[in-house]
Symmetry: C2
DNA sequence: CCGTCGGGTTGACGTGGATCAAACGCAGGG
DNA sequence: CCCTGCGTTTGATCCACGTCAACCCGACGG
């Protein structure tokens, strides 16, 4: 696998930033903090990094120092094993945290790649631990975020272990829809930032199967699909498909 | 599904306990703590619970208050969705923590069930947060444990998403072997505490497939299997099978 | 304008594991 | 001792998804 220009690049811009006037503060780490606590958090989030589509935020094997909050843009994380197989473990959007997997061994265990031009806030982890020893709310919120990641992963395990192809895709789309909605975007119409192949990798399916499922959903009038542009026409239908089925 | 005696029972014995003289302190939360810190931890781990095989430690939907450290015995956790499908999300043995999934919403999101007579230490979570604000090492260690759970889940996602049946079982057995070894037991010979069905649920396979894979491993002289008693005859062979294959 | 290229769609076919079904074997109870 | 029941094994068949291959289509460059 040759290193192309994008994967080789790790350069990025650094911008001064502050949580206290970030419009994501209701979505991100600062949730529920008092104004004076928020000010302390400002000192913590020292740098902002800009990444172009295809850039690596970090790579498996790199030393872990910071976690990252997505300020804008869209990421995927993936793990790969010796024999070449790989799997997308998640897609991260605005306000979500990246890098939690690195805490355990002080080494990142997956790659994080920008799927579109993006910005992240880097949060040095030792600072975060320091500050969360002072601010209960921050500590508790951080624990909740980690726990939520575990719960999310269990959901994916469920999906991979028990659902069939179309159920998986329906679950995936409904989840995306949900998350766009929470960010003030239309839950019914959005652009996929990832390829069919990346969706397949996440869902444990081949891209052809994903493509066929999209086509079938269109025939069933559940979706309108134009390349990566998705419009959900029948949310209930998708939900039913997700739980119902299974002979 | 009728509630039988075992599933209905939630009663348990309570025993006074102390981390400072627990022989698991190198495996469990106390890792790396100084003696005086250890003493503080003793106050925190207030109660020990005994469970019989089949007892629920907690159930999905119950209010989350404590995490639990397995002192002896063996557990499984599983999630289930409306339509009746369920999936085992993990097996926990001595020194491992249970209940981390409950932190995010203050409600347990899975069931934890003893697969043999077991004992756990209950650790009230708010106390743990309090103490980890005082003891850096404890705080950091706890974060590592949560992170390790995330990494583990990614491994399972990888397994479910990309491996075929025999690779999954090989990976599963090698993982168990590893964990028994870390606890001072033979890595080559052990008893499975779970049924073929539970293994299958965890690995995203049907019990028949698990059974056939066991039989095939025996033919290949990789294992000796007598019901739930497993002896690994060829670790390297299992490892090769795990990574190698794939046309 | 056309040629190329990468991602996506669609079709034909093969297969790994699910499903269905029968039989086995150990454990527990009478 | 035999009967019963559950977990497991094993076999026969089926089908969802993977594989392989052709083709489409919008983007981009010359």
């Amino acid at each position: 696998m040759p290193k192309d220009a994008a994967t080789a690049r790790l350069a990025f811009e650094i911008v001064k930033t502050a949580c206290s006037n970030c419009n994501l503060r209701e979505l991100c780490l600062p949730i529920g903090l008092a104004p004076e606590e928020l000010k302390k958090l400002d000192e913590l989030v020292s740098t902002r990094r800009r990444l172009k589509r295809g850039d690596y935020l970090y790579r498996a094997g790199q030393v872990f120092e910071s976690i990252y909050a997505v300020r804008s843009g869209f990421f995927k994380t993936d793990v790969l094993i010796e024999d070449g197989r790989d799997q997308v473990t998640g897609f991260q959007m605005t306000g979500e945290l990246l890098g939690l997997d690195g805490i355990s061994s002080e080494i990142h265990t997956c790659n994080a790649i920008a799927l579109e031009d993006s910005e992240v806030c880097a949060i040095p982890f030792s600072h975060l631990e320091g500050l969360s020893r002072q601010i209960h709310t921050l500590q508790h919120h951080f624990h909740k975020v980690m726990s939520r990641e575990i719960v999310r992963d269990h959901g994916v395990m469920m999906l991979l272990g028990t659902m069939r192809a179309e159920e998986r895709l329906a679950a995936f789309l409904l989840n995306l829809s949900q998350r766009f909605k929470a960010r003030g975007y239309s839950p019914a119409e959005f652009n996929l930032r990832m390829s069919r192949d990346e969706i397949g990798s996440y869902l444990g399916l081949k891209l052809e199967t994903v493509s066929r499922a999209f086509s079938h959903f269109q025939e069933e009038k559940l979706l309108a699909v134009h390349q990566r542009k998705i419009r959900i026409l029948n949310t209930e239908g998708l939900k039913k498909l997700m739980t119902h089925q299974r002979g």
